[in-house]
Subunit: 346 residues, 2 copies
Amino acid sequence: MLAMRSLPDPPAPAAALPPALPPAGTTVGETGEFELLALLTPRLPQGPDVVVGPGDDAAQVRASAGGLLVATDVLVDGRHFRRDWASAVDIGHRAAAQSLSDINAMGGRATAVTVGLATPADVEVAWLVDLSDGIASECASVGASVVGGDLTRSEVLTVSVTALGTLDGPGVAAGLRSGARPGDVVALCGRQGWASAGLAVLSRGFRSPRAVVEAYRRPDVPYGAGAEALEAGATALIDVSDGLVADLGHVARASGVRIDLSSAALTVDEPLRAVGAAVGVDPLSFVLGGGDDHPLAATFPPQTELPARWSVVGTVSDGGLEGAPGGPEVTVDGAAYQGAPGFRHF
Amino acid sequence: MLAMRSLPDPPAPAAALPPALPPAGTTVGETGEFELLALLTPRLPQGPDVVVGPGDDAAQVRASAGGLLVATDVLVDGRHFRRDWASAVDIGHRAAAQSLSDINAMGGRATAVTVGLATPADVEVAWLVDLSDGIASECASVGASVVGGDLTRSEVLTVSVTALGTLDGPGVAAGLRSGARPGDVVALCGRQGWASAGLAVLSRGFRSPRAVVEAYRRPDVPYGAGAEALEAGATALIDVSDGLVADLGHVARASGVRIDLSSAALTVDEPLRAVGAAVGVDPLSFVLGGGDDHPLAATFPPQTELPARWSVVGTVSDGGLEGAPGGPEVTVDGAAYQGAPGFRHF
């Protein structure tokens, strides 16, 4: 951090206790905007980098010398989450994790978050408070403050989270998708396929195995692993939000290389095998095609000593894509992958 | 700006020409997410402060020593705009202006913007491109880059804009709502009431006077006026987005003061008088209660020489609110204002 003696000291945390919740069952439509904000705002984490927190026209956060990272993700009810499949707290965790993971995937540390929330009138205030608490809790787990946002009405519950982050250490360059080179190894950090297996279970009307259902509801993001990867010399870095093959395809295209995954090197954890057997699907498809877990994938020069949480799952070779447009940029055991192409927003 | 020799030079603007638009009438639902992003992204402005622009997990922007400002606003179709009342370009301008104005209202300069866009399948691609162009154009007008965002599907068109900004000059403190002191004058910069008069016209099925309709469609924000106000010694600063009385109420409550507006000092421009006469409304109500124009209001110590664009419209007196909760914090010519309380989001 820069020394910034000219700035005022950060404000103390929003002192007073939050107001009591309204009676159970009270809806957003029965409650005023300012009343809702008065309920939600005192519950939001405010760290030492916050100069001006929620409640003014904009928030002010201390800046760092390493440059500023920013990422926005939008989650839409019925498309990215279902209120009957996950609690409000879980949905809040997931909404925050999605943007915080993007900062992780640049090798950064998240510092602050804003939340744009559009909500139907019939949503209960208690549900909204839980959603906000989930966002706050996920942010607090990485030391990020929730510094502001917007609250409005809509027919469709929509949560837009913008995460700000910083690259610690002077001269650190962000981990991009475009730096993979032939000869590099591909490595993965964090569980992968669990959320997809959980979704397969939920969409068939079941609620177990519990471990994968909970993984779908609330991702376990390997925060800090991006910075570890940069320090170890990663050449490209991305988070796996749409599917391992799909997201490594972004790296391959941005870097002009081909990537081959080794199925033997990919971990297919026991709960995934159980779900695969139960629903009649190759459990490797959860690992190759599933999204929403937010592990990190990176490429490293060969012979790099990987950080403890990382393991090699594939190799990078010469792209030579010019001559073969449309050919598979990502293969599995040398062959095109025929499974799900990953989550598509359109 | 900090000298940051350790950072790479900014990338050249996204070189290639944008791809050609699909045939007229093609909808978002007939088009892939990546195809849409390929259409929209090359059209976005990328200034010299952008280190990593759109297309990676997060964007990277150079940070400044003055600390970072951030504001998020959400606009919902049918609530904050109507597609039959304004063009896509106008709606884009307005969506960007709303967040850029928040940076102005802290005394800052906007540097970068992210956009979270949720769109129904039946929206035409050409409409979406126009919306994006409107956002880009408003941002470019203040030198802000559009560095990223998210694009997804929803039943309700929703535009969430996060603006990042900086306070130029070391040691500059942001202009808050809480600094007004008894004896200060209240001043206004920028036109006020025009958008509200335009809305009154449109909601009655008319399209003229054209000047106010256009003001509703696309605000004319006095960018830079916030920094001017800080330099002149402003004690409190806010943008008028919900209504002059309503927003000055925020200043009065945050500062613990009362504010009295002078109707004789408020400008009621000719088009507002015309609309007032046509619809049978006191045109001063547009000025006192109308939102969406985004002028700035500020308080200054008495005898301050105001910057050229600013004019005095009222005075600040001792709050003494403890003894009279619920009493009017903002009066007009010494009396409570009985008009519209301003736009409510709930």
